[in-house]
Protein backbone atom coordinates (compact mmCIF):
# COMPACT_ATOMS: atom_id res chain seq x y z
CA UNK A 1 0.00 0.00 0.00
CA UNK A 2 2.48 2.61 1.10
CA UNK A 3 5.73 2.70 2.94
CA UNK A 4 3.90 4.37 5.80
CA UNK A 5 3.30 2.07 8.71
CA UNK A 6 4.79 -0.95 7.00
CA UNK A 7 4.89 -3.64 9.68
CA UNK A 8 7.77 -5.39 7.90
CA UNK A 9 10.22 -2.56 7.67
CA UNK A 10 8.82 0.12 9.90
CA UNK A 11 10.18 0.89 13.33
CA UNK A 12 7.43 -1.00 15.12
CA UNK A 13 8.03 -4.09 13.02
CA UNK A 14 6.55 -6.64 15.36
CA UNK A 15 4.38 -4.48 17.54
CA UNK A 16 0.76 -5.21 16.79
CA UNK A 17 -1.30 -2.12 16.12
CA UNK A 18 -3.25 -0.92 19.07
CA UNK A 19 -6.99 -1.20 19.49
CA UNK A 20 -9.55 0.78 17.60
CA UNK A 21 -9.92 4.45 18.06
CA UNK A 22 -6.28 5.46 17.90
CA UNK A 23 -4.89 3.36 15.07
CA UNK A 24 -5.39 4.34 11.43
CA UNK A 25 -7.47 1.74 9.67
CA UNK A 26 -4.83 1.42 7.01
CA UNK A 27 -2.43 -0.08 9.50
CA UNK A 28 -5.08 -2.49 10.79
CA UNK A 29 -5.64 -3.76 7.26
CA UNK A 30 -1.94 -4.05 6.65
CA UNK A 31 -1.31 -6.00 9.83
CA UNK A 32 -4.29 -8.34 9.86
CA UNK A 33 -5.28 -8.53 6.19
CA UNK A 34 -3.25 -11.67 5.40
CA UNK A 35 -4.53 -13.50 8.47
CA UNK A 36 -8.12 -12.63 7.62
CA UNK A 37 -7.57 -13.78 4.05
CA UNK A 38 -6.37 -17.13 5.37
CA UNK A 39 -9.52 -17.42 7.47
CA UNK A 40 -11.65 -16.65 4.42
CA UNK A 41 -9.81 -19.18 2.29
CA UNK A 42 -10.30 -21.84 4.91
CA UNK A 43 -14.00 -21.04 5.19
CA UNK A 44 -15.14 -20.59 1.59
CA UNK A 45 -12.26 -21.76 -0.57
CA UNK A 46 -9.95 -19.82 -2.84
CA UNK A 47 -12.57 -18.60 -5.31
CA UNK A 48 -14.91 -16.81 -2.95
CA UNK A 49 -12.25 -15.84 -0.41
CA UNK A 50 -11.63 -12.50 -2.12
CA UNK A 51 -15.28 -11.56 -1.88
CA UNK A 52 -15.46 -12.62 1.74
CA UNK A 53 -12.32 -10.63 2.52
CA UNK A 54 -13.61 -7.49 0.86
CA UNK A 55 -16.94 -7.72 2.59
CA UNK A 56 -15.17 -8.29 5.88
CA UNK A 57 -13.06 -5.19 5.61
CA UNK A 58 -15.91 -3.09 4.28
CA UNK A 59 -17.96 -4.04 7.32
CA UNK A 60 -14.94 -3.48 9.53
CA UNK A 61 -14.38 -0.02 8.11
CA UNK A 62 -18.03 0.75 8.74
CA UNK A 63 -17.89 -0.30 12.36
CA UNK A 64 -14.33 0.67 13.18
CA UNK A 65 -15.02 4.01 14.90
CA UNK A 66 -17.41 2.37 17.35
CA UNK A 67 -15.04 -0.45 18.25
CA UNK A 68 -14.19 -0.48 21.92
CA UNK A 69 -10.78 0.87 22.75
CA UNK A 70 -9.70 -2.30 24.54
CA UNK A 71 -11.08 -4.71 21.93
CA UNK A 72 -8.96 -7.40 20.32
CA UNK A 73 -8.87 -6.18 16.74
CA UNK A 74 -7.72 -9.47 15.24
CA UNK A 75 -10.43 -11.47 16.97
CA UNK A 76 -12.97 -8.87 15.90
CA UNK A 77 -11.87 -9.11 12.28
CA UNK A 78 -11.84 -12.91 12.32
CA UNK A 79 -15.37 -12.97 13.73
CA UNK A 80 -16.58 -10.67 10.97
CA UNK A 81 -14.79 -12.84 8.42
CA UNK A 82 -16.50 -15.96 9.72
CA UNK A 83 -19.92 -14.32 9.57
CA UNK A 84 -19.32 -13.02 6.08
CA UNK A 85 -18.09 -16.43 4.96
CA UNK A 86 -21.20 -18.11 6.32
CA UNK A 87 -23.29 -15.54 4.48
CA UNK A 88 -21.41 -16.34 1.30
CA UNK A 89 -21.90 -20.08 1.71
CA UNK A 90 -25.62 -19.62 2.24
CA UNK A 91 -25.86 -17.33 -0.75
CA UNK A 92 -23.97 -19.83 -2.86
CA UNK A 93 -26.46 -22.60 -1.98
CA UNK A 94 -29.48 -20.45 -2.73
CA UNK A 95 -28.19 -18.95 -5.90
CA UNK A 96 -28.89 -20.26 -9.38
CA UNK A 97 -26.59 -22.98 -10.64
CA UNK A 98 -25.09 -22.54 -14.09
CA UNK A 99 -25.87 -25.51 -16.37
CA UNK A 100 -24.85 -26.36 -19.88
CA UNK A 101 -28.25 -26.95 -21.48
CA UNK A 102 -31.30 -25.01 -20.48
CA UNK A 103 -34.50 -27.04 -20.00
CA UNK A 104 -37.06 -26.56 -22.75
CA UNK A 105 -39.97 -26.11 -20.36
CA UNK A 106 -40.55 -24.96 -16.83
CA UNK A 107 -40.01 -27.67 -14.26
CA UNK A 108 -42.04 -28.66 -11.22
CA UNK A 109 -39.22 -28.21 -8.77
CA UNK A 110 -40.03 -25.76 -6.08
CA UNK A 111 -43.77 -25.58 -6.85
CA UNK A 112 -45.67 -26.72 -3.74
CA UNK A 113 -47.77 -29.78 -4.33
CA UNK A 114 -46.11 -30.66 -7.57
CA UNK A 115 -43.18 -32.71 -6.51
CA UNK A 116 -39.73 -31.58 -5.76
CA UNK A 117 -38.64 -30.66 -2.30
CA UNK A 118 -42.11 -29.63 -1.21
CA UNK A 119 -43.64 -33.10 -1.47
CA UNK A 120 -45.34 -34.01 1.82
CA UNK A 121 -43.04 -36.28 3.72
CA UNK A 122 -45.59 -38.32 5.68
CA UNK A 123 -49.24 -38.73 4.92
CA UNK A 124 -51.35 -38.19 7.97
CA UNK A 125 -52.59 -41.66 9.02
CA UNK A 126 -55.60 -40.41 10.88
CA UNK A 127 -57.39 -37.75 9.03
CA UNK A 128 -59.85 -35.90 11.26
CA UNK A 129 -62.80 -37.00 9.16
CA UNK A 130 -61.92 -40.65 9.73
CA UNK A 131 -61.75 -40.17 13.47
CA UNK A 132 -65.26 -38.93 13.40
CA UNK A 133 -66.55 -42.10 11.72
CA UNK A 134 -69.69 -43.57 13.40
CA UNK A 135 -67.92 -46.53 14.93
CA UNK A 136 -64.93 -44.53 15.89
CA UNK A 137 -62.96 -46.46 13.32
CA UNK A 138 -60.20 -45.24 11.13
CA UNK A 139 -59.85 -45.86 7.46
CA UNK A 140 -56.42 -46.77 6.25
CA UNK A 141 -54.86 -45.88 2.94
CA UNK A 142 -55.33 -49.45 1.79
CA UNK A 143 -59.07 -49.22 2.31
CA UNK A 144 -59.24 -51.12 5.59
CA UNK A 145 -60.45 -49.65 8.77
CA UNK A 146 -59.39 -49.59 12.38
CA UNK A 147 -61.60 -49.05 15.34
CA UNK A 148 -61.01 -46.01 17.42
CA UNK A 149 -59.49 -47.89 20.31
CA UNK A 150 -55.91 -47.19 21.05
CA UNK A 151 -53.53 -49.96 20.19
CA UNK A 152 -55.76 -51.82 17.87
CA UNK A 153 -53.47 -50.99 15.04
CA UNK A 154 -50.88 -53.20 16.62
CA UNK A 155 -53.23 -56.13 16.36
CA UNK A 156 -53.98 -55.16 12.85
CA UNK A 157 -50.36 -55.19 11.93
CA UNK A 158 -49.72 -58.50 13.58
CA UNK A 159 -52.51 -60.53 12.08
CA UNK A 160 -53.69 -58.59 9.12
CA UNK A 161 -57.15 -57.24 8.53
CA UNK A 162 -58.66 -60.61 7.53
CA UNK A 163 -58.50 -62.05 11.04
CA UNK A 164 -58.66 -58.80 12.87
CA UNK A 165 -62.25 -58.82 14.12
CA UNK A 166 -61.90 -62.37 15.37
CA UNK A 167 -58.81 -61.77 17.37
CA UNK A 168 -59.87 -58.77 19.28
CA UNK A 169 -63.53 -58.93 20.06
CA UNK A 170 -63.35 -56.14 22.55
CA UNK A 171 -62.35 -53.66 20.02
CA UNK A 172 -64.13 -55.02 16.99
CA UNK A 173 -67.15 -53.07 15.87
CA UNK A 174 -70.43 -54.57 16.90
CA UNK A 175 -72.39 -56.60 14.40
CA UNK A 176 -75.03 -53.97 13.96
CA UNK A 177 -72.60 -51.12 13.80
CA UNK A 178 -72.12 -49.87 10.30
CA UNK A 179 -68.77 -50.98 9.07
CA UNK A 180 -66.53 -48.14 8.23
CA UNK A 181 -64.70 -47.76 5.00
CA UNK A 182 -63.69 -51.42 4.69
CA UNK A 183 -66.17 -53.17 2.42
CA UNK A 184 -66.42 -56.93 2.18
CA UNK A 185 -64.83 -56.77 -1.22
CA UNK A 186 -61.67 -55.20 0.10
CA UNK A 187 -58.76 -57.56 -0.35
CA UNK A 188 -56.73 -58.54 2.68
CA UNK A 189 -53.87 -56.24 3.15
CA UNK A 190 -50.66 -57.71 4.47
CA UNK A 191 -48.61 -54.67 3.98
CA UNK A 192 -47.15 -52.84 6.87
CA UNK A 193 -48.35 -49.40 6.42
CA UNK A 194 -45.35 -47.61 7.76
CA UNK A 195 -47.53 -45.35 9.83
CA UNK A 196 -46.43 -46.66 13.14
CA UNK A 197 -45.42 -43.37 14.65
CA UNK A 198 -48.78 -41.82 15.33
CA UNK A 199 -50.52 -45.06 16.26
CA UNK A 200 -47.74 -46.79 18.12
CA UNK A 201 -47.32 -43.81 20.38
CA UNK A 202 -50.51 -44.42 22.37
CA UNK A 203 -49.39 -47.97 23.12
CA UNK A 204 -47.13 -46.61 25.74
CA UNK A 205 -50.03 -44.69 27.13
CA UNK A 206 -52.04 -47.84 27.35
CA UNK A 207 -49.25 -49.57 29.22
CA UNK A 208 -48.92 -46.64 31.54
CA UNK A 209 -52.58 -46.50 32.35
CA UNK A 210 -52.71 -50.16 33.22
Amino acid sequence: MTPVGDPETGPGAHAAPGPGGATPFQRIAKAYGPAVLRVCRAMVGPVDADDAWSETFLAALRGYPSLAADADVEAWLVTIAQHKSVDLIRRRVRGPVPIEDLPTRAGDIGVPGRGGPFRPVVACPRPPAARAAPSGGVSLPCGHALCGRRGCHRQFRRCGPARWSGRDRRTAPGPDAPRPAAGPAAPPCRRRHGITRRIAYPLRLRGASR
Binding site: T23, P24, W53, F57, L58, P65
Partner: protein, 246 residues
Amino acid sequence: MNHEIESDRAGSQLAAARSGAARSEERSSVEVLFDRMLDSADLEGLVDVAYRVVDSPFGPLLIAATSAGVVRLAFTVQGHDQVLEDLAARVSPRVVHLPRRLDGAAGELDEYFRGARSGFTVAVDLRLAHGFGRSVLERLPAIPYADTAAYAQIAAAAGNPAAARAVGTACSRNPVPILVPCHRVVRSDGSLGGYVGGPGAKRRLLDIESRADETRPAADSSPPSGERPAADGRASTPYTMKEDAP
Protein backbone atom coordinates in the same frame (compact mmCIF):
# COMPACT_ATOMS: atom_id res chain seq x y z
CA MET B 1 24.16 -40.09 3.11
CA ASN B 2 25.78 -36.76 2.55
CA HIS B 3 23.90 -36.44 -0.66
CA GLU B 4 20.68 -37.11 1.08
CA ILE B 5 21.36 -34.53 3.75
CA GLU B 6 22.32 -31.96 1.19
CA SER B 7 19.30 -32.62 -0.92
CA ASP B 8 17.24 -32.47 2.24
CA ARG B 9 18.67 -29.10 3.09
CA ALA B 10 18.14 -27.90 -0.45
CA GLY B 11 14.60 -29.16 -0.27
CA SER B 12 13.91 -27.32 2.95
CA GLN B 13 15.43 -24.16 1.53
CA LEU B 14 13.27 -24.53 -1.52
CA ALA B 15 10.23 -25.01 0.66
CA ALA B 16 11.17 -21.95 2.71
CA ALA B 17 11.63 -19.93 -0.45
CA ARG B 18 8.30 -21.15 -1.73
CA SER B 19 6.48 -20.28 1.45
CA GLY B 20 8.15 -16.88 1.43
CA ALA B 21 7.02 -16.35 -2.14
CA ALA B 22 3.54 -17.47 -1.19
CA ARG B 23 3.53 -15.03 1.70
CA SER B 24 4.61 -12.11 -0.42
CA GLU B 25 2.06 -13.08 -3.04
CA GLU B 26 -0.57 -13.19 -0.34
CA ARG B 27 0.40 -9.75 0.86
CA SER B 28 0.26 -8.24 -2.58
CA SER B 29 -3.12 -9.80 -3.24
CA VAL B 30 -4.27 -8.33 0.06
CA GLU B 31 -3.12 -4.91 -1.13
CA VAL B 32 -5.03 -5.30 -4.37
CA LEU B 33 -8.11 -6.42 -2.49
CA PHE B 34 -7.83 -3.54 -0.07
CA ASP B 35 -7.60 -0.98 -2.83
CA ARG B 36 -10.59 -2.54 -4.54
CA MET B 37 -12.50 -2.52 -1.26
CA LEU B 38 -11.67 1.16 -0.81
CA ASP B 39 -13.38 1.98 -4.10
CA SER B 40 -16.73 0.78 -2.81
CA ALA B 41 -16.03 2.24 0.64
CA ASP B 42 -15.40 5.60 -1.01
CA LEU B 43 -18.72 5.34 -2.85
CA GLU B 44 -20.45 4.69 0.46
CA GLY B 45 -18.71 7.67 2.03
CA LEU B 46 -16.89 5.54 4.57
CA VAL B 47 -13.48 7.12 4.02
CA ASP B 48 -13.17 9.93 6.54
CA VAL B 49 -9.50 10.72 6.05
CA ALA B 50 -7.65 9.87 2.85
CA TYR B 51 -3.91 10.25 2.73
CA ARG B 52 -1.18 10.11 0.17
CA VAL B 53 2.58 10.59 0.10
CA VAL B 54 4.05 12.85 -2.57
CA ASP B 55 7.61 13.70 -3.44
CA SER B 56 8.95 17.17 -2.76
CA PRO B 57 12.32 18.91 -2.61
CA PHE B 58 12.26 18.14 1.12
CA GLY B 59 11.58 14.45 0.81
CA PRO B 60 8.25 12.66 1.03
CA LEU B 61 5.32 14.84 2.08
CA LEU B 62 2.24 13.36 3.65
CA ILE B 63 -1.07 14.92 2.58
CA ALA B 64 -4.31 13.98 4.28
CA ALA B 65 -7.76 15.22 3.37
CA THR B 66 -11.24 14.96 4.76
CA SER B 67 -14.30 15.46 2.62
CA ALA B 68 -14.02 19.19 3.41
CA GLY B 69 -10.47 19.62 2.13
CA VAL B 70 -6.83 19.09 2.96
CA VAL B 71 -6.67 18.68 6.70
CA ARG B 72 -3.01 17.84 7.25
CA LEU B 73 0.28 18.16 5.47
CA ALA B 74 3.36 16.79 7.14
CA PHE B 75 7.09 16.75 6.45
CA THR B 76 9.17 13.65 6.97
CA VAL B 77 10.76 15.08 10.11
CA GLN B 78 7.35 15.18 11.77
CA GLY B 79 7.01 11.40 11.50
CA HIS B 80 4.31 10.29 9.13
CA ASP B 81 3.22 7.39 11.34
CA GLN B 82 2.74 9.70 14.27
CA VAL B 83 0.83 12.17 12.15
CA LEU B 84 -1.51 9.44 10.96
CA GLU B 85 -2.11 8.29 14.51
CA ASP B 86 -2.82 11.86 15.50
CA LEU B 87 -5.36 12.11 12.68
CA ALA B 88 -6.95 8.84 13.75
CA ALA B 89 -7.33 10.13 17.28
CA ARG B 90 -8.45 13.69 16.49
CA VAL B 91 -10.46 13.39 13.27
CA SER B 92 -11.55 9.81 12.65
CA PRO B 93 -9.91 6.39 12.85
CA ARG B 94 -11.02 5.67 9.29
CA VAL B 95 -7.68 6.78 7.90
CA VAL B 96 -6.82 5.03 4.65
CA HIS B 97 -4.40 5.44 1.79
CA LEU B 98 -6.54 6.73 -1.07
CA PRO B 99 -4.34 8.71 -3.47
CA ARG B 100 -7.15 9.37 -5.91
CA ARG B 101 -8.83 11.85 -3.61
CA LEU B 102 -5.66 13.91 -3.33
CA ASP B 103 -4.82 14.16 -7.02
CA GLY B 104 -5.70 17.86 -7.10
CA ALA B 105 -3.61 18.80 -4.10
CA ALA B 106 -0.66 16.69 -5.27
CA GLY B 107 -0.74 18.30 -8.72
CA GLU B 108 -0.88 21.83 -7.32
CA LEU B 109 1.96 21.12 -4.90
CA ASP B 110 4.05 19.76 -7.74
CA GLU B 111 3.43 22.89 -9.81
CA TYR B 112 4.23 25.02 -6.79
CA PHE B 113 7.57 23.29 -6.20
CA ARG B 114 8.43 23.79 -9.87
CA GLY B 115 7.67 27.48 -9.49
CA ALA B 116 4.75 27.32 -11.88
CA ARG B 117 2.07 28.12 -9.32
CA SER B 118 1.80 31.03 -6.94
CA GLY B 119 -1.43 30.21 -5.15
CA PHE B 120 -3.44 27.15 -4.21
CA THR B 121 -7.06 26.52 -5.11
CA VAL B 122 -7.58 23.28 -3.21
CA ALA B 123 -9.89 23.54 -0.23
CA VAL B 124 -8.25 23.52 3.18
CA ASP B 125 -9.92 22.06 6.25
CA LEU B 126 -8.67 23.89 9.35
CA ARG B 127 -10.51 21.73 11.86
CA LEU B 128 -7.27 20.84 13.64
CA ALA B 129 -6.62 24.47 14.54
CA HIS B 130 -8.56 26.26 17.23
CA GLY B 131 -8.87 29.63 18.86
CA PHE B 132 -6.24 32.26 18.29
CA GLY B 133 -4.07 29.90 16.28
CA ARG B 134 -6.87 29.39 13.84
CA SER B 135 -7.50 33.09 13.43
CA VAL B 136 -3.78 33.49 12.72
CA LEU B 137 -3.81 30.73 10.12
CA GLU B 138 -6.86 32.26 8.46
CA ARG B 139 -4.89 35.44 7.89
CA LEU B 140 -1.75 33.84 6.50
CA PRO B 141 -3.00 33.31 2.91
CA ALA B 142 -3.21 37.08 2.60
CA ILE B 143 0.59 37.32 2.58
CA PRO B 144 1.52 37.65 -1.10
CA TYR B 145 3.57 35.09 -2.92
CA ALA B 146 7.33 35.61 -2.59
CA ASP B 147 6.77 38.15 0.16
CA THR B 148 7.25 37.85 3.91
CA ALA B 149 5.57 39.27 6.97
CA ALA B 150 6.79 39.63 10.53
CA TYR B 151 5.28 37.71 13.41
CA ALA B 152 4.36 41.02 15.02
CA GLN B 153 2.50 42.16 11.90
CA ILE B 154 0.39 39.03 11.89
CA ALA B 155 -0.25 39.40 15.59
CA ALA B 156 -1.50 42.93 15.03
CA ALA B 157 -3.70 41.80 12.17
CA ALA B 158 -5.15 39.02 14.32
CA GLY B 159 -6.16 41.61 16.88
CA ASN B 160 -3.50 41.16 19.53
CA PRO B 161 -0.30 43.11 18.75
CA ALA B 162 1.48 41.72 21.81
CA ALA B 163 1.00 38.13 20.76
CA ALA B 164 3.92 37.76 18.37
CA ARG B 165 5.14 34.70 20.24
CA ALA B 166 1.67 33.14 20.09
CA VAL B 167 1.74 33.70 16.34
CA GLY B 168 4.99 31.77 16.23
CA THR B 169 3.36 28.95 18.16
CA ALA B 170 0.36 28.99 15.85
CA CYS B 171 2.64 28.79 12.80
CA SER B 172 4.62 25.95 14.29
CA ARG B 173 1.37 24.07 14.88
CA ASN B 174 0.05 24.79 11.41
CA PRO B 175 -1.62 21.53 10.33
CA VAL B 176 -1.35 22.46 6.67
CA PRO B 177 2.04 24.08 6.00
CA ILE B 178 2.84 25.24 2.45
CA LEU B 179 -0.86 25.38 1.56
CA VAL B 180 -1.33 27.85 4.40
CA PRO B 181 1.94 29.77 3.94
CA CYS B 182 3.33 29.96 7.43
CA HIS B 183 6.82 29.89 5.89
CA ARG B 184 6.25 33.51 4.78
CA VAL B 185 6.20 34.68 8.40
CA VAL B 186 9.69 35.67 9.57
CA ARG B 187 11.19 37.54 12.48
CA SER B 188 11.15 41.29 12.58
CA ASP B 189 14.97 41.45 12.51
CA GLY B 190 15.03 39.64 9.16
CA SER B 191 16.14 36.24 10.37
CA LEU B 192 13.98 33.33 9.33
CA GLY B 193 12.77 31.87 12.58
CA GLY B 194 11.71 28.30 13.02
CA TYR B 195 9.66 26.08 10.78
CA VAL B 196 7.82 22.80 11.13
CA GLY B 197 9.82 21.22 8.32
CA GLY B 198 13.08 22.57 9.67
CA PRO B 199 14.68 25.96 8.92
CA GLY B 200 16.27 24.55 5.78
CA ALA B 201 12.85 23.82 4.36
CA LYS B 202 11.73 27.36 5.12
CA ARG B 203 14.75 28.79 3.33
CA ARG B 204 14.18 26.57 0.29
CA LEU B 205 10.49 27.42 0.09
CA LEU B 206 11.25 31.14 0.13
CA ASP B 207 14.01 30.56 -2.45
CA ILE B 208 11.61 28.72 -4.74
CA GLU B 209 9.13 31.58 -4.46
CA SER B 210 11.61 34.41 -4.97
CA ARG B 211 13.27 32.66 -7.95
CA ALA B 212 9.94 31.96 -9.61
CA ASP B 213 8.90 35.52 -8.91
CA GLU B 214 11.99 36.97 -10.64
CA THR B 215 11.75 34.80 -13.73
CA ARG B 216 8.06 35.45 -14.13
CA PRO B 217 7.07 38.33 -16.42
CA ALA B 218 5.86 41.43 -14.63
CA ALA B 219 2.34 41.17 -16.01
CA ASP B 220 1.35 37.71 -14.98
CA SER B 221 -0.78 36.33 -17.77
CA SER B 222 -2.15 33.39 -15.86
CA PRO B 223 -3.12 34.28 -12.35
CA PRO B 224 -4.46 31.19 -10.66
CA SER B 225 -8.16 31.49 -10.21
CA GLY B 226 -9.36 30.40 -6.82
CA GLU B 227 -10.57 31.22 -3.40
CA ARG B 228 -7.57 33.31 -2.51
CA PRO B 229 -7.12 36.12 -4.98
CA ALA B 230 -5.11 37.90 -2.33
CA ALA B 231 -2.34 35.38 -2.79
CA ASP B 232 -1.70 36.51 -6.39
CA GLY B 233 -1.35 40.23 -5.79
CA ARG B 234 2.31 39.73 -5.24
CA ALA B 235 4.60 42.64 -5.97
CA SER B 236 1.97 45.04 -7.20
CA THR B 237 0.46 45.83 -3.82
CA PRO B 238 2.48 46.35 -0.69
CA TYR B 239 1.59 43.95 2.04
CA THR B 240 -1.28 45.18 4.17
CA MET B 241 -3.46 43.11 6.40
CA LYS B 242 -6.16 45.75 6.72
CA GLU B 243 -8.24 44.63 3.77
CA ASP B 244 -8.39 41.13 5.18
CA ALA B 245 -9.18 42.12 8.74
CA PRO B 246 -12.83 41.93 9.71
